[in-house]
Symmetry: C2
Subunit: 210 residues, 2 copies
């Protein structure tokens, strides 16, 4: 069984630029990737963890697969390459910006008997998708990709995986609060190190820079 | 075992007022309450489902408990009343604005062996809390209540329940997209009836009024 994490380091997480400078955003993106990859490795579920990246990165226990393609093209080419090399094992596609993912989440997903397991992101996203037979599926990210993936899998047995951890992708400044509240990994340590902390005012929670 | 749903109908969900008028917000709040209460009743887990409300509402298979107190005071008085009447059964406190909750979510929570089960909301909230011994706990909502509840329960055995369904409280206009994408109950039917639909533009998802 294998896992693949698409990753883009350059100008990562531009919506965080009101709080974090470019190098901080890249460091945070690398910290989140390290958390996700570490959880995959620690889950004991995968023989191979590939990072499908537009630039070289080094993360323990993973392979780097360089690509210049966009997200959908790169992942669909990856699935096609598996088929054309007769690699018929299941594959988990997981986003690099969901640092709350736990080993138990991963173990629960891959122990599903469904053909396709989809963990939704907020606002119609798809943060993790487990594909039992890679030749039977293609991805279509952006927009309401959760609904698009359900449509693509309409003749397959689909399980929707209900997880707050997996739904929590880090895009906006307010999302950093989720890392500070629930995080257990490098991403939380990194934010604390650069002085990002939780702010509670008038019953609302946010983040601020100390 | 019992469940209690705090509810406030008057001027409900004020942050939705840019899209919905007051009567629509009240109707949506009632639809969400109906979804939550129906799921509790359908779960088969509870002998009693109480709605702790500031105004009379009628929902099948529930009791109405009128109160003029705020959220924390009303719930803590409810827990005290249980103790003073020697009602030592477990209680589930669940918010009225999480219409995605499923029967399986409820069954999974109440089958936990922990003293306290907390399902976080986004941004540090607490959307559902299961209290095995009501006399051992009090609530403290608003702000980072998830962290406050962990602190209150520091000498108890706590399980954090990981669920996107339960984390999704409907506060902002953009949250309505979650009902349209994932909803299966009255709330979704209601939004569709008043012409609220999903909008996907430039890779982002939102809602619009037709």
């Amino acid at each position: 069984m294998r896992a693949v994490i698409p990753f883009k380091k350059s100008n990562a997480k531009s919506r965080l630029s009101t709080l974090l400078c470019e190098s901080e955003r890249e460091d945070l993106a690398m910290s989140m990737l390290t958390d996700v990859a570490g959880t995959l490795a620690g889950s004991g579920c995968f023989d191979v963890v590939d990072i499908l990246s537009t630039s070289p990165v080094y993360i323990e226990n993973t392979n780097i697969v360089l690509t210049e393609m966009g997200l959908n093209e790169a992942l669909n080419e990856y699935l096609r390459q598996m088929s054309s090399h007769n690699i018929n094992e299941p594959v988990l596609i997981i986003m690099a910006d969901i640092p709350l993912v736990s080993k138990k989440n991963i173990q629960d997903i891959v122990s599903s008997r469904a053909d396709i397991v989809i963990a939704p992101g907020r606002m119609g996203g798809t943060n993790t998708i487990f594909i039992r037979k890679p030749q039977s599926f293609h991805v279509d990210y952006y927009g309401p990709s959760f609904l698009k993936h359900l449509a693509i899998a309409k003749n397959l047995n689909v399980e929707v995986f209900d997880s707050f951890n997996l739904s929590t992708d880090i895009d906006e400044v307010s999302d950093l609060a989720e890392i500070l509240i629930h995080g257990k990994g490098y991403s939380k340590v990194y934010l604390e190190r650069i002085g990002i902390s939780l702010l509670a005012r008038k019953g609302r929670v946010g983040v601020e820079r100390l």
